[in-house]
């Protein structure tokens, strides 16, 4: 049913006890590079580090709250929905300021940097997202790229279920290291008019013979905490302060991306609060 008023949020935490505190305490698997988005999927700690599946476009998978690397949580009881309430985090590595982005990692596939053109199997967000919704495409490096800038495009089905949509040409960044964005930015540009992806369908390798691996991940961004000072907890209230009570769908694979301001190995901890009504 969702929340129709603030009182129902308080009610969820104290009467129905359907609020959940999802604690995390992580240290990045690799050092960051200033202003280059990076993925904390493989960060160690609590919860445990995630891993990727078998390399190759035929080996896509849907990731869930049961996938190692996800923050575990309990699905909303029958007849209720779960929503994001608050997020707070503290970074405790000198100079490691930045923005921590909470996301639902919906589906992914591990690809060779020079993955051959063909059909992608299993990178499908339809089991998680409602009709009309699409995910963003995030491309983190998994094994460092060689000093070559490959280019490629992806074919996909958009938020409205229209297939044969195509991304603009994507250029991989030569020598880009693991966990960092394979491209120059965060989300991947889509064909004009599209807001998201429901399934990732094909890859077309255009140029380059560089080596390395990257992941193509369908991601749903949920909330961001900007951390401007080391050692100080920053909180985001998504009920009143920044009304944005994103729905947490059953089995969501919750994790983090990181937009660093400097080159450090960030260590951070905090909690995500969700509640059902």
């Amino acid at each position: 049913m969702g929340f129709t008023g603030f009182d129902q949020v308080i009610n969820a935490w104290t009467v129905t006890l359907t609020g959940q505190k999802l604690l995390f305490s992580k240290i990045s698997a690799t050092a960051s590079v200033a202003n280059i988005p990076m993925d904390h999927w493989k960060a160690t700690g609590m919860p445990a580090a995630g891993a990727y599946g078998t390399v190759g476009k035929a080996n896509g998978r849907v990731t869930t709250s049961s996938t190692t690397g996800s923050m575990p949580f309990t699905n909303a009881p029958g007849g209720t929905t779960c929503n994001l309430i608050a997020e707070e985090a503290t970074v405790i590595t000198t100079s490691a300021t930045g923005s921590l982005i909470l996301v639902d990692f919906i589906a992914d596939v591990l690809l060779d940097y020079s993955e051959t053109t063909g059909t992608i199997v299993g990178v499908d967000a339809t089991s998680r997202l409602p009709s009309g919704a699409g995910a963003q495409l995030w491309l983190p490096v998994v094994t460092g790229f060689s000093a070559v800038a490959n280019t490629w495009t992806f074919g996909y089905t958009n938020q409205a279920g229209v297939s044969s949509r195509t991304t603009p040409t994507i250029t991989g960044v030569a020598s880009r290291a693991a966990d960092k964005s394979a491209t120059a930015g965060l989300w991947t540009a889509l064909q004009a008019g599209d807001t998201g992806i429901r399934t990732l369908d094909t890859i077309t390798h255009a140029t380059g013979a560089g080596t390395g691996q990257f992941a193509a991940k369908l991601v749903r961004p949920l909330g961001t905490v900007p951390i401007g000072t080391i050692g100080l907890c920053v909180s985001r209230d998504f009920v009143v302060e920044l009304p944005n009570m994103e729905r947490i769908y059953d089995n969501s694979c919750l994790g983090f991306l990181w937009l660093p301001t400097g080159a450090q190995t960030p260590s951070f901890f905090g909690e995500v609060r969700v509640a059902s009504n």
Binding site: V9, S25, P47, S70, T90, I92, T229, D237, V240, F269
Partner: protein
């Protein structure tokens, strides 16, 4: 029934609220590194906390355990909820982040030794089904600089046995000072807040059944206390000398956290400086609601 609305919470706060005062003295110089997490367990000026018997049995901590904040029991048939807290540090000190914890149980062991001969560290009777704790590894007597792998054998949110390992990248680290939490990184200058790592999709620990140390672990004069704690809330004090407050009833998502009847409230400190000597004072605001 809890707190059904803001109005009810505000009304109950007038009738059944309690402000729990606290004063912690951290002038003892137990600050090893900036941003390293420290336990405030021994710093409570009302009654300083003490560690359990060395190499003895696990201990269940309550509001009557020395070191805990002095909390009045809820009204009959009611429970306690944390609806806010405020705190200040002196202007001569430094900014910091405080994590409010309910310390549920603990056990102390000689450094390099594996305790638990007397049984598991067991929080299950003090937390709800499916709920979990974080595990803190706290220096309770100054340790050597040796760093070694530690395997935590525990039960998770589903009461299933599992284990995780802290694997240091180096073999030497810092000499842990009393109150400092052991690092789970590489023993150098990179820290997490020292919650023990977990395995798979585990959310936390309900029991810590044992730890396993590699053969040849250094047994130094130091001692380590393992505790299972429930994380309640966090507050940051960016500017020393300027009080800060958090309201969990009408702000911060409206998330008053329910406490067990007999909570052992204490703090984890993340200082922004290696020399933040001083005293911090404040109140935890609790509400007793049916």
């Amino acid at each position: 029934m809890g707190i059904p609305s803001i109005a009810a919470g505000q009304d109950d706060m007038v009738k059944y609220g309690q402000r729990v005062p606290f004063t912690f003295n951290y002038t003892t110089g137990n600050w090893g590194n900036t941003f390293a997490a420290h336990s405030a367990w021994t710093m409570n000026l009302n009654v300083a906390g003490a560690f359990p018997t060395l190499d003895g049995a696990p201990r269940i901590c309550t509001s009557a355990t020395p070191g805990a904040l002095r909390v009045q029991a809820p009204l009959a048939g009611s429970s306690l909820y944390v609806v806010g807290f405020d705190v200040e540090v002196p202007s001569t000190s430094t900014g910091m982040t405080l994590v409010l914890l309910d310390r549920i149980c603990d056990i102390q062991a000689t450094e390099g030794a594996a305790p638990f001969a007397s049984g598991a560290l067991d929080a299950t009777s003090k937390i709800a089904a499916g709920e979990t704790c974080v595990c803190l590894t706290e220096v309770s007597a100054t340790t050597s600089t040796s760093v070694y792998a530690t395997q935590y054998n525990y039960t998770n949110q589903a009461n299933a046995a599992n284990n995780s390992t802290y694997s240091p990248k180096t073999t030497t680290g810092f000499a842990g000072l009393v109150g400092q939490l052991m690092s789970y990184s590489d023993g150098s200058q990179t820290y997490t807040p020292s919650y023990a790592p977990l395995s798979g999709t585990d959310a936390g620990m309900r029991t810590l059944t044992s730890i396993t140390l590699p053969s040849g672990s250094v047994v130094a004069p130091g001692a380590i206390t393992y505790s299972l704690c429930r994380v309640i809330n966090t507050i940051s004090i960016p500017n020393a000398g300027t009080p800060e407050c958090r309201d969990f009833l009408t702000q911060n998502g409206g998330t008053p956290i329910k406490l067990r009847d007999d909570p052992c409230l204490t703090f984890l400190i993340l200082p922004q400086s290696t020399a933040p000597d001083g005293v911090f004072n404040g109140y935890v605001n609790l509400l007793s609601a049916p």
